[in-house]
C-alpha cells in the first residue's frame, strides 16, 4: 500500500518540533556520525554545484558537433531547420540542440540504471528488509561504495540507505530532464555540464544496483578468482529443454534457478542468457550459461534452441514476441518497463498460465513476480520442449542456394545495413554454392535484421547469414570469468603507486554494447594486446563477452590465460553494465586508499586527482545506447577519457582537446602555485576512432597523465611509440609534447627521439604536481 517499507510506528512523539500524533516515520537520511572523514564541499550536489569544474573540463575538451539531422523536431513549434546558424522557433541554435539531445540520451540512460536500481532495491527491501546489510567484499572492501561516498557523502550500510540515495538520484534526473524542455536551457556548455551531472548520477545509480544484487544474491564479492563459466552458442546443450533469459534485471532468472534447485531439476534444463542478465545469472550460479551479447538475440532465437524466452528489461529486441512466435516458443515478459502488450497474469494460478502457454492459447504473458516467472518458465519449458522439438527457421543450405539465385542485386539490403555489409555480392556467391562470403558476414553482422525488411524478394537474409555461420556458431564454446564485482582495497594499495606514477602503463576498460563495426574479434584483439603489454584490462557488459570469444592455438580463451586480479596483465571482468562503477570506483579508491584523499562529498578534488594522475581509458567499441552515453558521461566528469568506435560519431558530438594549442594544457603545480605546461595528457575526453588500429595507438597515448614520473612516462611512451610504429609505420609527430625531461625518453629509443626533439626545438621542463584547482595549491602550501 505504501511505496516504502515503514520502520517505525509512533503513536505520539514529542520533539523539538512539537508533538506529532499518529505518524509513521521512515528512515530518511542517515547521518553517520561514526564516519570520521570530514565532509567535503559538495555532498548531494545540485545541478549547478559542480558547474565550475565542468566548465574547466569543457574548456580543455570543447564539443565538436556533428549533427545527426539538420532539424529539431522536439516540439510542435517545429520542425525547425537549425542548419547553417539558423535558430529554431524557440530561439535555440544547433550547438545547443546537439548538446540537448546528448543530455536527453544521458537522462534516459541514467534513468534506466536508476529505475533498475530502484526496482531491485524495492524488491529486495520487501524481501530482506530495510536493515539488510550491504556487503560487496567483506573485509577486503572497506570502501564499499566509492562513487556513492564521493557524490553523496554517505556511507551506505543497509538496503534502506540505498533507498534514500535513490531519492536524490531521481530528483536529479528529473531536474536534468526538465532542462531539455523547450524554452529551458539555452546554452550548449550548460547542457554539457548537465550531461556530466547525469553521468555522475548514473554512476551512483549503477553502483547501488550492483551493491544491492551482490549483497542479497551472494554474487562473487570482489573475487579475482570468480568461477569460469560457459560462454558461447556451442555451450548450450541442444538435447535439453532450454530457457533463454534476456535483459538486465536478474531476479526472474534467479527465480528460475531457484525453482530448478528446489525441484532438483538442475542439469535437466539449460538456462542460458544474453546481455547483462546473462552476466548476472552466472554470478548467481555458475551452472547457467552465457550465449552472447545483444547482437546474438535474433540468431539464437532463430536457431530454434530456446523453448521459452524470458525477457526482463533493457536491451530486449522489440520484436522478440514475433520472433519467438516464429519458432513456436512462448515468451514471458517480466518487467513493467517492457510489457509487450501482453496480458498481466501475475495474479493468476501457475497451472492456468502454464496451460495457456503450452497449448499455444496465448503467445506470451506478462508476469511481474520473479518467483512465479521461475516456476512458469521451468514448467512451460519442460512441456513445450517435446512438442516443438527445437523447431527452427534457419533454412537448409540447398534451399538457401536456390533462393539466393533469385537475388536481383538491387543493393537494398546493403543500403539498409548499418555496417554496409556487401550482402548482394555474398548472395551471388551463395547462388553459386559458395557460402564463404556470407560466412564472413556472419562474423561481422550485428544481428539487427534491417536487411530483411527491405529485400523486395523478402529473403530472410539474416537467417541466411546465420546458416552460413552455423558451423562456426556451433563451435563457439568459450570460458568467461563470472563478474567479480568490486576491486579489493588491498589490490588498490598494491597498484596505486605504479598507476599514479605511470609504471603500470594504464587501466584500460572495455565496456558496453556489441554494435561493432567489424565484429567482436576486434575487441578481443585489442584486449589481448593490452593484457600482453601488462596494462590492467577491465571488462564489463557485452564487451566482456566479446573479450572471451576467441581462442589461442591451445584452445584457451583470454579469461583462461590472464588472471582476474586488478593488477598489471590482469583481465578483470567486473560484471554486467551496472558493475561499471567498480571501474570508476577503482580510480576513486586510488585517490582515497592509496593517496589518502578525502572522498566524502569531495567530488572536485577527487576528479582533479583522477584526471591528472590515474591513467585510465574507457573503450566502448560498440556503444550504441543511451546508457552508453550516460556511462561515458560519468567517466568524463571524473576526467577519464572514452574512446568509441566509428559509429560512435553518431552520438552527435565529441569532446576533443587541441594539442596544437599550447595554452589549453596548463595546470597548477600544487607545490608552487605556478601555472605549468602539463602537455596534452589526456589529449581527448570523448573521441571516435576510425579503426581498431587507430584506437590502440590512441589508448596508449590517452593513458599518459601530467603526474607520470619519468620512469612511468618512459614506459607509457614506449608503448605509444611501439604501437604507432607498428600500425602507422612511423614515429608519432607529437612526442615532443609528452617528453618533459630527457629521462622521460625510453632508453632504447633515446637517439632517435633526441634527434626529433632537437628538430622541434624542445626544451626540458618541469614535471608539476598537477591540479586544475587553485584551492589545491593553497591546501598543499598550508600543509607546510
Amino acid at each position: 500500500m505504501t511505496r516504502k517499507n515503514v520502520d517505525l510506528k509512533i503513536k505520539e512523539l514529542k520533539s523539538n518540533l512539537g508533538i506529532m500524533k499518529d505518524l509513521r516515520l521512515s528512515v530518511g537520511k542517515v547521518i553517520d556520525d561514526s564516519w570520521e572523514e570530514t565532509i567535503g564541499p559538495t555532498p548531494y550536489p545540485s545541478i549547478t554545484d559542480l558547474r565550475n569544474w565542468d566548465m574547466k573540463i569543457l574548456q580543455k575538451y570543447k564539443p565538436f558537433y556533428m549533427p545527426f539531422c539538420d532539424l529539431c523536431c522536439l516540439c510542435t513549434y517545429g520542425k525547425c531547420d537549425l542548419s547553417n546558424n539558423k535558430r529554431g522557433a524557440c530561439g535555440l541554435n544547433m550547438e545547443a540542440q546537439q548538446s540537448r539531445i546528448v543530455l536527453l540520451a544521458a537522462c534516459i540512460g541514467a534513468a534506466t540504471h536508476t529505475a533498475h536500481a530502484r526496482h531491485l532495491v524495492d524488491e529486495l527491501i520487501e524481501k530482506f528488509g530495510r536493515n539488510y546489510p550491504l556487503d560487496v567484499g567483506g573485509t577486503n572492501v572497506e570502501v564499499e561504495a566509492p562513487v556513492t561516498r564521493l557524490v553523496t557523502g554517505i556511507r551506505p550500510k543497509t538496503l534502506g540507505d540505498l533507498d534514500t540515495i535513490l531519492d536524490y538520484l531521481e530528483t536529479q534526473i528529473n531536474h536534468l530532464l526538465s532542462a531539455t524542455h523547450t524554452g529551458q536551457e539555452g546554452n550548449n556548455l550548460d547542457f554539457e555540464s548537465k550531461v556530466l551531472q547525469a553521468g555522475m548520477v548514473d554512476q551512483v545509480g549503477m553502483e547501488i544496483a550492483d551493491m544491492a544484487q551482490v549483497s542479497c544474491f551472494g554474487f562473487p564479492k570482489a573475487d579475482p578468482n570468480a568461477p569460469l563459466v560457459d560462454l558461447g552458442f556451442g555451450a548450450v546443450d541442444p538435447t535439453k529443454p532450454t530457457i533463454m533469459v534476456v535483459g538486465h534485471n536478474v531476479p526472474p532468472a534467479i527465480g528460475i534457478m531457484d525453482y530448478l534447485n528446489e525441484k532438483g531439476l538442475y542439469g535437466k534444463i539449460d538456462v542460458c542468457g544474453l546481455c547483462c542478465t546473462a552476466h548476472d545469472i552466472t554470478r548467481y550460479s555458475s551452472k547457467a550459461k552465457i550465449v552472447g551479447p545483444i547482437s546474438w538475440q535474433l540468431r539464437f532465437i532463430r536457431s530454434g534452441l530456446p523453448d521459452i524466452l524470458v525477457v526482463d528489461e533493457q536491451c530486449i529486441r522489440a520484436d522478440s514476441l514475433e520472433e519467438a512466435k516464429k519458432i513456436k516458443a512462448p515468451l514471458i515478459a517480466s518487467s513493467s518497463k517492457n510489457c509487450l502488450g501482453l496480458e498481466d497474469r501475475t495474479k493468476d494460478p501457475v497451472d492456468e498460465i502454464v496451460n495457456d502457454l503450452v497449448s499455444g492459447q496465448v503467445d506470451g504473458v506478462l508476469i511481474l513476480d520473479p518467483e512465479k516467472v521461475g516456476e512458469v518458465a521451468v514448467r512451460t519449458a519442460m512441456e513445450v520442449a517435446p512438442k516443438r522439438k527445437k523447431f527452427k527457421i534457419i533454412p537448409e543450405i540447398k534451399d538457401l542456394i536456390e533462393i539466393a539465385k533469385k537475388c536481383n542485386l538491387c543493393n537494398e539490403c546493403r543500403r539498409a545495413c548499418p555496417n554496409d555489409q556487401e550482402i548482394p555480392k555474398a548472395m551471388v556467391s551463395a547462388g553459386k554454392g559458395d557460402l564463404t562470403k556470407l560466412e564472413k558476414i556472419y562474423e561481422e553482422c550485428i544481428g539487427c535484421g534491417r536487411c530483411e525488411y527491405v529485400c523486395p524478394n523478402e529473403f530472410p537474409i539474416h537467417s541466411f547469414i546465420v546458416k552460413a555461420g552455423e558451423k562456426k556458431m556451433k563451435q563457439e564454446q568459450y570460458k568467461i570469468r563470472a563478474g567479480r564485482g568490486a576491486i579489493q582495497d588491498v589490490e588498490i594499495r598494491r597498484v596505486g603507486q605504479p598507476i599514479i606514477f605511470g609504471e603500470i602503463p594504464g587501466v584500460v576498460a572495455f565496456v558496453g554494447c556489441a554494435n561493432y563495426p567489424k565484429g567482436g574479434e576486434e575487441v578481443a584483439e585489442m584486449i589481448e594486446e593490452f593484457a600482453k603489454r601488462r596494462f590492467i584490462v577491465v571488462t564489463s557488459g557485452c564487451a566482456a563477452m566479446s573479450a572471451g570469444m576467441v581462442k589461442d592455438e591451445d584452445g584457451k580463451s583470454p579469461y583462461e590465460k590472464y588472471p582476474g586480479n586488478f593488477d598489471a596483465g590482469g583481465l578483470v571482468n567486473v560484471g554486467s553494465c551496472v558493475s561499471n562503477p567498480h571501474i570508476a570506483g577503482a580510480a576513486i579508491k586510488i585517490a582515497s586508499i592509496f593517496a589518502k584523499r578525502n572522498l566524502r562529498g569531495n567530488y572536485e578534488e577527487i576528479a582533479d586527482y583522477v584526471h591528472n594522475r590515474v591513467g585510465a581509458v574507457g573503450i566502448a567499441w560498440g556503444a550504441m545506447s543511451q546508457k552508453a552515453a550516460s556511462i561515458a558521461s560519468g567517466f568524463w566528469r571524473l576526467g577519464i577519457p572514452v574512446i568509441v568506435g566509428p559509429h560512435g560519431s553518431k552520438y552527435r558530438r565529441m569532446l576533443l582537446g587541441r594539442k596544437d594549442r599550447k595554452e589549453d594544457w596548463y595546470v597548477y603545480d600544487s607545490r608552487t602555485g605556478e601555472r605549468v605546461y602539463g602537455g596534452p595528457a589526456p589529449e581527448h575526453l570523448f573521441y571516435a576512432a576510425e579503426t581498431k588500429e587507430e584506437a590502440m595507438v590512441m589508448i596508449a597515448k590517452l593513458c599518459m597523465r601530467p603526474n607520470d614520473n619519468t620512469k612511468g612516462r618512459a614506459i607509457k611512451l614506449s608503448h605509444y611509440i611501439d604501437l604507432h610504429k607498428r600500425f602507422y609505420g612511423t614515429m608519432p609527430d607529437d612526442i615532443h609534447l609528452f617528453v618533459r625531461r630527457l629521462s622521460d625518453i625510453p632508453i632504447t629509443m633515446k637517439d632517435e627521439i633526441v634527434r626529433i626533439l632537437d628538430e622541434k626545438g624542445w626544451k626540458e621542463r618541469i614535471i608539476p604536481d598537477p591540479t586544475l584547482l587553485p584551492r589545491m595549491v593553497r591546501k598543499k602550501a598550508n600543509k607546510k
Partner: protein, 179 residues
C-alpha cells in the same frame, strides 16, 4: 546513378550536395581554391576498382592535382609502403574538428583550408563529419569522392558503380595532367 543517400536512412536535410558527375567540376573548384586538402580514410586500402586499389587512384590524383593529403587512421602506413611520402597523418576527428576552426594554421602552417576532398571513410562517419563541416565550417567547400552520394557535402559523386568510379578517376587524372 542516384543522388539519394547511399545508406538509405541517412537522409538529406534541407540542403543537399550537388551531384558531381563531371571531372571538370573538380578542376574548376581546384582552380578557385587557395588551400585544398584531401582527407583519406582507411577504406582506400580495402576498396578495389577492378584491379587497382583506391589508394593508387588517390595517389595519382594527389600528384596530378598537387593536393596535399592527410591520411586518417592507419592509412598513412599504406602510403609509406607505396613510397608516397608527402602525406600527413591525423585521426579524422582531429582533422574535422580543426577544419571548423578558422584560426587553425593547417597541417602545413599555411592557414585555413577552403576546399576539402573526402574519400575512404566509413559512409556514416563521413556523413556526420560532413554534417559538422556543413554547419560549423563557414567558408569551407567539401567534395565527396567515394562514389556513394553524401548529401552533406557541397558536391558529391552520386551513387555510381565501381566501373563508373574508375572511369571518373581516370578522366580526372588525365584532366589534371597526370597519366
Amino acid at each position: 546513378m542516384s543522388d539519394a543517400p547511399w545508406q538509405k536512412a541517412e537522409v538529406a536535410g534541407t540542403k543537399r550536395a550537388l551531384p558531381l558527375v563531371k571531372p571538370e567540376v573538380v578542376l574548376a573548384m581546384l582552380k578557385r581554391s587557395k588551400h585544398p586538402i584531401l582527407v583519406v580514410g582507411h577504406k582506400i586500402v580495402e576498396i578495389d576498382l577492378d584491379g587497382k586499389k583506391l589508394i593508387d587512384f588517390v595517389i595519382d590524383i594527389a600528384k596530378a592535382g598537387e593536393i596535399p593529403i592527410v591520411a586518417t587512421a592507419h592509412s598513412v602506413k599504406e602510403f609509406l609502403n607505396r613510397e608516397f611520402q608527402s602525406v600527413a597523418s591525423m585521426p579524422v576527428m582531429d582533422v574535422a574538428n580543426r577544419l571548423t576552426d578558422p584560426e587553425w594554421k593547417g597541417l602545413d602552417g599555411k592557414g585555413t583550408y577552403d576546399l576539402a576532398f573526402f574519400i575512404g571513410l566509413p559512409y556514416y562517419m563521413e556523413w556526420l563529419i560532413l554534417s559538422g563541416l556543413k554547419n560549423f565550417s563557414g567558408n569551407l567547400q567539401t567534395i565527396s569522392l567515394d562514389g556513394f552520394y553524401q548529401p552533406n557535402a557541397t558536391w558529391s559523386i552520386p551513387n555510381i558503380s565501381s566501373k563508373e568510379l574508375r572511369e571518373f578517376f581516370e578522366a580526372l587524372i588525365l584532366k589534371l595532367g597526370g597519366q
